[in-house]
């Protein structure tokens, strides 16, 4: 099985491993690093449950090669809360009841984090466009948009 040496940073921690070329980023963080916050649902870049950030950009970890994070930084949902202290985005999701079953939530939180990094004060329309590729079967989306607006008022991605 073809493999490559990969040297990356995951949630601020350096990781060096030899990985099969065909391993996806989702399987890498979930199975090799035990970071199971990243969920896999559709496996075809449609639902966004697997959203993680690579060098700050949102990607579908289900359809992204683990070897492609060689030399780059990965941020998963586990890397957000600092010593248990939730980020404004996470806090707002709780406060606005922007989750029910919670399966989509890590993906939405990562996508929202990426948005607020580029656009600290997005309009409702910008939020809807940015989150268009994240699906939620439970909430009806309105509390999610509200949570992102609230997080943006609360100072965006940092405390």
């Amino acid at each position: 099985m073809p493999e490559l040496d990969v040297s990356t940073t995951v949630n601020g921690r350096p990781v060096e491993m030899r990985l099969p070329t065909r391993l996806t980023l989702a399987d890498f963080v979930r199975d090799r690093l035990g970071l199971t916050g990243t969920k896999v649902s559709c496996g075809m870049q449609v639902c966004g449950a697997c959203t993680v950030l690579v060098d700050g950009d949102p990607v579908s970890a289900c359809s992204y090669l683990a070897c492609d994070v060689d030399g780059r930084e990965v941020l998963t949902v586990e890397g957000l809360a600092d010593g248990g202290e939730l980020t404004p985005v996470q806090r707002a999701f709780v406060d606005c009841s922007a989750l029910q079953c919670g399966f989509c939530t890590p993906g939405f939180v990562m996508a929202a984090t990426a948005l607020l990094r580029d656009e600290p004060h997005p309009t409702e329309e910008q939020i809807a466009h940015h989150l268009d590729g994240n699906l939620c079967r439970c909430t009806g989306y309105l509390p999610i948009v509200e949570a992102v607006l609230k997080a943006s008022r609360a100072g965006g991605i940092d405390e």
Binding site: Q45, S60, G133
Partner: protein
């Protein structure tokens, strides 16, 4: 699970071209290629990752045209001042297509080479009269986008050729881009560009490949006539009647966006 493959990561264009010449498959964002491999529709032995090739990076504007290297993502194109100013409909298409993750990872070059019939990028590039630069171990050639795409998922690119860059004539005249996308890919895309000597209207997504209609001026564009003439493929996105109807409506909306009266 993906089938097994070798992953090569060249750091020069010459090395990339050599790897492709010996049977390697070009790979950039992987948004199409990995999906196709997962479905079992392709199992290339060797992927040639283009993301470390310095010659393929970036957007430059010079000599009346914009050059987009093969590594340029949809997100980069949509945010580029040069593209927004001189190829506004390309920025619009790139900023609207797929979803935020596809736009951050997928490249315009990969989109063009895959030649998916419902491509926003091909619609915009055809309206802008763009061309692509191809390079192989034996030489280089440039092909107008109109001749590059032969049909659904087929182009004139030879297996051993790399798409090096997309070149778009800089234009600042009136233009419009509209699309209807109730699902992941659009059901119809319409681009209109007023040039010095006429008006180019492109209708995409309804057929095998985007189709160009030219008129002496924007005032001469007839949405109903285009809807009657355009080639339609019936599929899960809709029946022929429905797609013809949508075509007329969206050509009309594009003209409205350009401020053409009586559209």
């Amino acid at each position: 699970m993906l089938p097994p493959f070798e992953l090569r990561r060249p750091v020069s264009l010459a090395a990339a071209v050599d790897l492709v010449a010996t049977g390697g498959t070009p790979y950039c964002g992987g948004t199409e290629l990995l999906a196709v491999m997962r479905l079992g529709l392709a199992s290339p032995e060797t992927l040639v990752d283009l993301k470390r090739v310095p010659e393929l990076v970036g957007i430059t504007a010079a000599h009346g045209e914009i050059r987009l290297g093969a590594r340029v993502t949809h997100r980069e194109a949509a945010a580029s001042d040069a593209v927004r100013t001189h190829a506004a409909i390309l920025a619009a298409g790139a900023g609207l297509l797929g979803n935020v993750r596809v736009r951050a990872t997928g490249t315009l070059a990969g989109n063009v080479c895959f030649a998916e019939p419902r491509s926003d990028i091909l619609t915009a590039l055809l309206a802008l009269d763009a061309s692509v630069d191809l390079r192989s171990a034996d030489g280089a050639r440039s092909v107008p986008i109109e001749d590059f795409v032969e049909g659904a998922f087929t182009t004139v690119r030879a297996d051993e050729e790399l798409l090096e860059a997309i070149r778009v004539p800089a234009r600042s005249g009136p233009s419009a881009y509209v699309r209807f996308a109730p699902a992941e890919h659009p059901t119809v895309t319409v681009a209109v560009v007023a040039t010095g000597d006429g008006c180019r209207v492109v209708v995409g997504a309804v057929g095998e490949r985007p189709e160009l209609f030219t008129f002496p001026g924007t005032g001469d564009v007839d949405p109903t006539a285009i809807a009657e003439r355009v080639d339609i493929t019936e599929d899960l996105n809709g029946h022929e009647d429905y797609k013809r109807h949508l075509t007329a409506v969206f050509v009309g909306r594009a003209l409205e966006q350009m401020g053409v009266a009586d559209a």
